[in-house]
Structure formats: C-alpha cells, structure tokens
Amino acid sequence: MTAAPKARSEGESGGERGILALNGITRRFGDFTAVDNVSFQVGPGELLALVGASGSGKTTTLRIAAGYDVPDAGRVTLGGDDITRVPPERRGFGMVFQHYALFPHMSVEDNVAFGLAARGVNKVDRLIKARAALSNVGLDGAGDRPIQSLSGGEQQRVALARALVIEPKALLLDEPLSNLDPTLREAMRDDLRRMLRRVGVPALFVTHDQEDAFAIADRIVLLKRGRVLQCGTPEELFHSPASREVASFIGRGAIVPAVDKGNSAEVTIGGVKRELAIRRPKEAPARMEKAFVVMRPNSLEMSKGAGVLAWRGKVVNRRFAGGVVVYRVELSDGVTVDVESLTADAHENDNVSVSPLKGPYPLVSA
C-alpha cells in the first residue's frame, strides 16, 4: 500500500531506465537445483530471450527477475540498485503471463487500468491512458468488451497493454506466444518485437521455441538444467554454438564426428574423407580432442547417382517444405543427415550421394 505512490513517482521521473542484471542466481527446491549460478544482463531497449526445454529453469529465472521468487544466492539489480528482495508490487515491472492472467470478471478497459488504479491514478486519467494503451496494441474501441469475448491473440494484446500502461521499468514475458495458433503466432512475432522495441526498457522473455527467440530477440540465453549453455545473438548461437549441447538444441542439424585440423576439419563417412571449412567457438582450444561438425540441411547438396568424392546413402524420408524438399538420408557409419534440395525427383529408398557445400561448418566439442 505504502509503496504504490513511491513506485509511481519513480515511474514518472523515468530517469533510471537502467540495465536489468542477474548475477550468479541460484535457486534450489530441496535437493533439486532449478537455477544454477545464472548471470546475464538486459540493457534498455534490448530484447533478451531465455530459451530452454521444459525444466531448464527458465521460468524460475523469470519469476526471480519479477520478484515472485527469491534466489538462494545471487543478486538481481536494476540500474545498479539491488532489488533481489523487493516484492513484485514494488518493482514496477510489467509482466505478461503465459495464460495472460487477465481478470475474468473485469472488462478489457478495467484490466488495463488495474495497475493505474493501484498507483492511485484518478479515474479520468486511468481511462485516457488505458484507451491509449489499447490503441497502441491495435485494440481501439475494445475497452468495454468482456475478457471472455476476446480471441487468443486479442487477449495477448490486452495482457501486453496492461503491462505497458504502467510505464514499466522492465518487461517480463512468460511464453508470450505459446497459446497462439501457428499462423497468428508468426504475425504476432513481428508485432511483439516492434512494440517491445518502442518501449525502450529491458525486455526479458521466456520461450521454449527457438524460432520465436530468433524472430524476436536481440540476444538469447540458452539454459539447460538450470545452467547457462551459451549467451549471444541468435546468429552467434546458430553459427558458432559453444558446445555440442547448444548445437543439438539450436537449428536442427546433424552432428557428425570430425577430426579437428585447426583451420579445417576432416569428416570421414563410409571411407570417403572430406575436408571442411569450419567456424570455431570463441573460447575453444586450438585443437579439440573429440570434435563434431554441425551439418544443417542447407549446407549439403544431394544428387541421384554416384558423385565424385560424395557420401553414398539412401533416402529414408522425403518431406515437401514449401519451396524445397527435405530428404532424410541414411549414410554409412550410422550417420543420418537432412538435406534441402530444390529438385523433387528423388524418392524414398532411392540411392543418392550427398556432398558438403562451401561451409563454413560450426565445429563443436563433445
């Protein structure tokens, strides 16, 4: 109660739109360590995605950032101030929940105005601001509608408007797109990125979907079993995965054993040895003991018949993917790769040959 006016005055001064930072966050539930020494920063206007499979600790991390949970170790800071133990009602963050958590007994407008009412904003100003916020998310005139009458996409926009109208110091979004059907989801990605970008505060969102992360985020923190596997731009994670685990999560490529030659790598399949241009991870040793290259469907080519120095294999699956056809080819030595091809003339059980393109291929260690 007492804190609400304070939060408001801070919000209005708008001065400290600072960096949101998590430093060495650890959270245990009994014997289980849900979050293990996680650190990252989100700058003003930056969009950061926390990516991981379920159980990777991404939601717990988000809840700690929001103040719904307190870490056993580590600090959360905003603009340099320690807010680790500040409860959510005094953080002044905007949060969009996975199922939106819209108040079912209120109209769209009342939902959006709720945070303003909590800040003691008078009724007229509340209404004006709520309408403006709804208009910003493309929902002009929807203020009187009951929540139940909204579609999933509209509910998502209302949730976003409700989080934005309080002029939050940071935005936190829990799986913001997971409840939308695929078509809507793709359209919403662009909208969401545009709207978050405009607010100019640190935005942190959780997703299990790497395509959402790629489409929206400036940077990605990839989590597994509570630890950070890699933190970087989508391009960095895709092109220079830090480890085999990162490579297997990001970008759907075959991970094939290779011999690290420093500037290149040798891959031998079925006795056919090929030397590939590689891209090494940033902090990798000069020579890796056990090395792998990541072969993505668009870094290989396939032809019917026997090619010179090509890997021989058999098509086990053929999937039409719009402009291209993706063939799953079983090579020798237990290696199976997906190959994208513009030609559609190969079929299941056809013998084909697969050759690497120019690369470079990401090189990772076990």
Binding site: A4, P87, E89, H105
Partner: protein, 552 residues
C-alpha cells in the same frame, strides 16, 4: 526480509486467527467430551458396556445407517439411470421433482410422513377404509419407519452423484466396448458400473454419515426404539453427563470408522472420468414398456410431491379439528394469521432468521480465509487448516452439540471457556461449526478454478494485498461464496439436531417450535411453520440466483 519469508509470515498472520478459532470451536469441545468420558476413570465406559439400552442404541444406529444406504441406493441408482439414459413421456416432470425431497428441512420431512403414513395419516386411512380394516394396516414406527423416511430424503444424494457420473460418462467408452464385442450386460458389468463406483461410493458415504447422525426421524418415529443420537439427549436430560460423553464419543467414533471404511473400500480408484461426455437418451421403443415406465413415473412423482402437498394442506387445517377423518375437515387461514400476529409465535421465525444470518456471515468470512490459504499458500499450517475445516463433517451434529454444551457452560477465561449455554449465541456457534465444511469446500472449488497467476498479475501491477483481495480474489471466489452461503443459510434456518440439544426458550428456532406444536397436537400450526420454512428456503434460493445473475 525476503519475499519468501514475508509471504510465510503473512500466511501465518492470516491463518492464526482462523486456526485458533477452529481449534477453540471444533477441537476443544470434542476433546472435552472425550476427556469427560474418562472423568470417572473407566467408570462411565463400564456403565456404557453394561447398559443393554446403550447396546441396543449402538447396534440400531448402525443397522439404520447401513439399511438407509442400501435403501437410498436402491431408489437413487435406478432413477438416475432411468432419467439419464431413457426418454419417455413424463421424463421432464419426473426430473423436475426428483430432487424435491432435498428442499424439505429435516424435521418437516418427518412431519409430512406422519401426516401421510402415520397411524392417523391420510394414506393409512385410505388403505384402512379400502380394505375395511378396523385398525391401521401398519404402524409408522421402529427401524422400518426410520429407514423409510431416510430413503425418501437421502436418496437425492445418490441420485445427484450418479446422475453427474452418468453425464460425465463418455458415450464413446460404451461404443468402444461394444465395438470390442461386449454384450449389453458385459458393458454394464465391466465398464459402466466400475466407472460409476466413485459416484456410488461417495454418495453412499454421505447417506451413511447423515443417517448415523440423524435425529429427527428416530426422535419422532422411534417409539421405544433407541439410537445413539436420541440416547445422548436422554442421558443429558437425565443429568447423566458422564454417560452422555461416552455415548457421544462412541457415536463420533462410529462416524470416523465409517469414513475410514469407505476410504479403504474406495482406495483402488486411480482414474477420474474427465471427458466431454454427453450422449443422446434412448427412446423406449416398446409401447408396453413405455406405458409401464410412464405409469411408474407418475407414481414416483406423486410419492415425491405428496409430502409437500400434505404439509401445505394441513397448514390450512383448523387445529384440533382433524381426528378420525381421512382429510382434515375444516380449513382456515387462522394458523398463518396467528403466526404473524402473536408475538410468541412470531419469535421463533425471527430467531431462526437472525441466527442463520449470523452463522452464515461468520462462515463466509472464516471459510473464505481458510480456503484462500489452502488453495494459494504453501505453508506448514496448510494441512492442519484443511483438517480443521473438514473435521465437523465427520462428527455427527449431536456430538458437536454435546461438545459445545460440555465446554461453554461456564466462564473460565484461563481454560478458554465462555458461558454460552443458555444464551442466544450457542446456536449460531453450533450452526457455524456444522456448516463450515460445506462453505469451505464451495469456496475452495471456485478458487481452484481460478488461474493462480491472477494473484501474481495483480501484485505485479502494483496492487497491495488488500486491493488484490478486494478486486481479484474475492470476485473470483464469488460463485463459491454465494453457493456456500446459500447452502449454509438453508441448513441453518431449518436446523434441528444441534438445536434440540442446545436451545433455550428465548432463542428457540422454528424447528423446535414445530416440535412443540406437534406435541400439543396443533398440527395446523406446525404445518404452517413448515410451509413458512420451505418458503424461506425458496426465497433464499431465488435471492441467491438473482444476485448471481445480476453480477454475472
């Protein structure tokens, strides 16, 4: 102070008064009864075991409860199948009146049966005259009579549970079974019945607990028959409190044993019926079967409506005029006029209404707090709280009442005793305790339907705890609060079992006045009170419904 520990601290701050109140009102009196039964060492227990009357009471109580379960199942299950699975002329009327007995306050149902099937009841006299007999063809007393009344009022639980089970029952399950080659009988035996067992077991338990604690039917029809609940009142009236404590303890233990037995029988169930369900009712094709069904439906409808009609009819009968005739010979509005004009007769009505309102208001506040903590807070006191709000359900009302009588009979602040016996407040307290499980579970279920992140969302938007409660949690719990409040008010306004142990002349509720008028053979006045009680229940139901509709 971290958020986590401050949350836990806040939980305890809210929980402490609730837990303290429930321990004081529920645990303490019952502990006092158990302790009281040992006040003379094992003396009172020996007295109990040596008393043939108490032996009879214990066995009769259990026999009546078990018989009531079977009788209710025998009516409720076939009726649920008939109405749930088949289409026939008269189905809608039958469905509409099938739950009518539940709308009769316990004592009113008993009187209605007295007017209909008692020695000088209408049906009895009609049969007697038709057969030209010199005396009544049957007597409405003893175990048979009690089970008869119980079956009429309690089959509704079975009917409602099994109907709900049938509704959730997915037609595709039956279709799958027949697709796999199962015959009709096989399907019933292997698929339908096992899947309905949870509903059957749940309702059987409810009937058992109600029958075990039932007081009005044994009290009015028992004749010389003894059951535990009436025996307790007897001992108390005779001043043998020690023995009354032992009898109360035995009654409560029987209830707990019954509960444990049902839990054990139902232990294997690990599945829930969660499907969209829905299936078309089958039209009965054979003309003859259709006719028979309709005739049966008419008979059932008449049997179900008759008690209500009878009470209404008798409420217009001039007191003292109805002696040997089949129907009351003289009719008048006098009974109602007196109810509203004579202060002494009006008193029980204001008593019942005000006591029910007080108890319900207290139930709403306390049960909402308890349900909120149980659903949303993880803290060490949660299990205790769950147990405390559910406990009164397992304790028969007579035992609850005797516990209150034994505990709040003097002022002794050091031991937490307050003199309530003989005052107005003892009955609202008793009603509050009896209705706590009902209200708490109604509120709990509506809070469980609420998305748990709504509370987080409100806090994240800067709302204080108070604002979150007022604007988010309470509106979300509203359907449960309205439904629970209605159930509590309906139960409290017609309450008889605890009232008969604890009432005084000044705060006598309607039920006690009905009994007094009955004893004075003022059948018309007793019936007028009963009709008024039914109208009050109806009025509250309509009020709750319109309140819900206006807000929704």
């Amino acid at each position: 102070m971290s958020v986590r520990t401050s949350q836990t601290r806040q939980s305890w701050v809210i929980a402490f008064p609730v837990i303290a109140l429930l321990v004081w009102a529920v645990i303490y009196p019952n502990a006092a009864v158990i302790a009281g039964s040992f006040e003379d060492g094992l003396g009172h227990w020996r007295e109990f075991w040596a008393s043939p009357a108490d032996h009879e009471a214990l066995t009769t109580s259990i026999v009546i409860s078990v018989a009531s379960v079977f009788a209710s199942l025998a009516i409720g299950v076939p009726l649920a199948f008939l109405l749930g699975r088949f289409e026939f002329p008269g189905r809608r009327v039958l469905r509409a009146v099938a739950t009518l007995p539940a709308a009769l306050p316990p004592l009113v149902g008993v009187i209605a049966f007295l007017f209909l099937y008692g020695e000088s009841g209408v049906v009895t006299r009609v049969v007697q005259r038709a057969l030209g007999m010199s005396h009544a063809p049957w007597q409405l007393r003893g175990v048979g009579a009690i089970v008869f009344v119980h079956a009429y009022t309690m089959y509704v639980y079975v009917f409602l549970f099994v109907s709900a089970g049938l509704e959730r029952f997915d037609a595709s399950l039956d279709e799958a079974a027949s697709g796999l080659g199962a015959s009709t009988w096989d399907r019933l035996r292997r698929v339908t019945i096992p899947l309905l067992m949870p509903a059957v077991a749940g309702s059987a338990l409810l009937v058992f607990m109600n029958a075990l604690g039932s007081f009005s039917a044994p009290y009015v029809f028992g004749g010389g028959l003894r059951v535990l609940s009436t025996q307790i009142l007897n001992s108390k009236t005779n001043g043998a409190m020690g023995l009354a404590y032992v009898e109360t303890t035995v009654l409560a233990l029987s209830a707990v044993a019954g509960l444990a037995l049902f839990r054990w029988l139902d232990r294997k169930r690990k599945y829930t019926l969660a499907s969209k369900g829905g299936r078309a009712r089958r039209q009965i094709s054979s003309r003859r079967v259709q006719m028979l069904t309709t005739i049966a439906a008419v008979i059932i409808v008449v049997a179900l409506v008759l008690p209500h009609l009878m009470v209404i009819l008798v409420s217009f009968a001039r007191d003292g005029s109805w002696t040997t005739q089949v129907l009351p010979p003289e009719y008048t509005f006098e009974n109602y006029r007196r109810l509203f004009s004579e202060a002494e007769l009006w008193r029980p009505i204001t008593n019942s209404v005000s006591m029910a309102l007080i108890a319900t208001a207290a139930n709403l506040v306390v049960c909402f707090m308890a349900a909120y903590l149980i659903v949303f807070r993880k803290f060490a006191g949660r299990r205790l709280l769950e147990l405390l709000v559910a406990l009164p359900w397992a304790i028969p009302a007579t035992a609850i009442a005797l516990g209150l009588a034994a505990t709040f009979n003097r002022n002794d602040p050091l031991t937490g005793r307050v003199l309530l016996v003989g005052t107005f407040w003892i009955l609202p307290l008793a009603y509050f305790i009896r209705d706590t499980p009902l209200v708490a579970s109604a509120v709990e279920s509506s809070l469980r339907q609420m998305d748990a992140s709504l509370e987080d969302a409100a806090r994240g938007l800067g709302a204080s705890w108070l604002m979150t409660m007022r604007r988010v949690i309470i509106p979300a719990a509203r359907p449960g609060l309205v439904a629970g409040g209605l159930l509590a008010a309906v139960a409290a306004i017609g309450e008889f079992v605890a009232s008969v142990v604890l009432y005084t002349h000044a705060n006598r509720p309607i039920s006690m006045e009905i009994l007094a008028q009955l004893r004075a053979l003022a059948f018309g006045t007793a019936a007028a009170y009963s009709v008024l009680l039914i109208l009050l229940v109806l009025l509250m139901t309509l009020a709750a419904r319109s309140f819900e509709e206006r807000l929704a």
